[in-house]
Symmetry: C2
DNA sequence: GTCTATACAATGATAGAC
DNA sequence: GTCTATCATTGTATAGAC
């Protein structure tokens, strides 16, 4: 039963290569990581990497896709669930932040490539995934206004304010030196923002 | 008068090298940029770079310091000015955003190195500059509360919410695909946030 | 200060044996 | 599937002439 599942088995050469690539791309960046370092970390030789993936670009794309598919799955799952819009907004933030917490290191690579220079890395479509999250937040805010949980206001402004605070919480975890900022703190900040939305801060003219 | 000012003259070899390095570090990243590309872009040969700067790291540090010194200067200037705390907070955001607008490309490099893997680039002290901005915002919020412009609240929460929205505005400019987000939009969002602070959203218990 | 020419290690990738 | 051995190219950096 060596082919029981579609993905890699625990200690297989392929999965060891992926783990090594993640570790090195994350700690050094794409361009600064060499194929030699990856295969040494994985305890194999170069041709093994070129056999399983076709190139350095190939293993990079494999790593990125594996990490991002989870995010899309969370959004879809959460949007299919019930509850009040405000409660669902909080749950979505919780689940996304929990995923982020388990992959803080990968997230450093996402940020570097998404906001920064491409580093010579092949194109990866962040935007379609990012858009899923933005659309979900906007829709929940819209439903919250319709349900009377939030006061009417410019939907774009509310969306970006909410995501701005959420994003800030992630970035504070990303950089060192902010160890005291935990789950409770970011949750409290998001509740403050939603309190503001409920009281009609978004309805400024 | 070839040595009239302390910095580089307009078309000097040194300044041409700096401009070329900025352009390439910004568009490709530090690790993915080669010394050969820099000198070709500047129209000189390799030894010229090694003569003026000592290494690839040397010209990188020169580039980073030049850009960041401006940010510290803005914070210090704005903090020395008068006006109500809320008005000063708005002015600080304006001035920092204006600097950011003139250097969107450099900002991409800052984000990549600050939040992402080091790319093999030498250490650069972002945090002391970043801390200046954070401290300024926190102090203005504190003064605003003392003056009765803002309702009392958790100062850390207010600071990060404000900076989160400010930061989101910058990041939306950083990535393509959000062309419609201009000065007026981000200013309106920050005013909404300060409205919330004024009405006491931060005083949740 | 700027050039030509080059040293020399490391890079991504492959051929061919097993 | 995995190895040894090696390719051509590019990388940072320098010696030495002008």
């Amino acid at each position: 039963m060596s082919e029981r599942n579609g993905t890699n088995e625990e200690g297989s050469v392929k999965s060891r290569l992926v783990r090594a690539a993640v570790k090195l791309f994350v700690s050094r960046g794409y361009a600064a990581t060499s194929v030699r370092e990856i295969v040494e970390e994985a305890g194999v030789t170069k041709p093994v990497l070129y056999y399983h993936f076709q190139s350095k670009e190939g293993i990079y794309l494999h790593v990125m896709e594996a990490a991002f598919s989870k995010m899309g799955a969370i959004v879809e799952t959460d949007m299919a669930q019930g509850g009040s819009p405000r409660a669902r907004l909080g749950r979505l933030a919780d689940d996304l932040f929990a995923l982020f917490e388990t992959r803080v290191n990968e997230a450093r690579l996402w940020y570097a490539i998404y906001y920064g220079p491409p580093q010579g890395a092949p194109f990866f479509d962040f935007d379609s995934n990012h858009k899923k999250v933005v659309d979900a937040v906007r829709r929940l805010l819209e439903e919250g206004i319709a349900a009377g949980e939030f006061a009417p206001g410019n939907l774009d402004d509310l969306t970006w304010i909410y995501l701005g605070v959420f994003n800030m919480a992630m970035e504070l975890r990303l950089i060192g030196g902010h160890p005291e900022l935990g789950d409770a703190d970011y949750k409290r900040m998001l509740e403050l923002v939603m309190d503001g939305f409920a009281r009609g801060v978004g309805s400024r003219r």
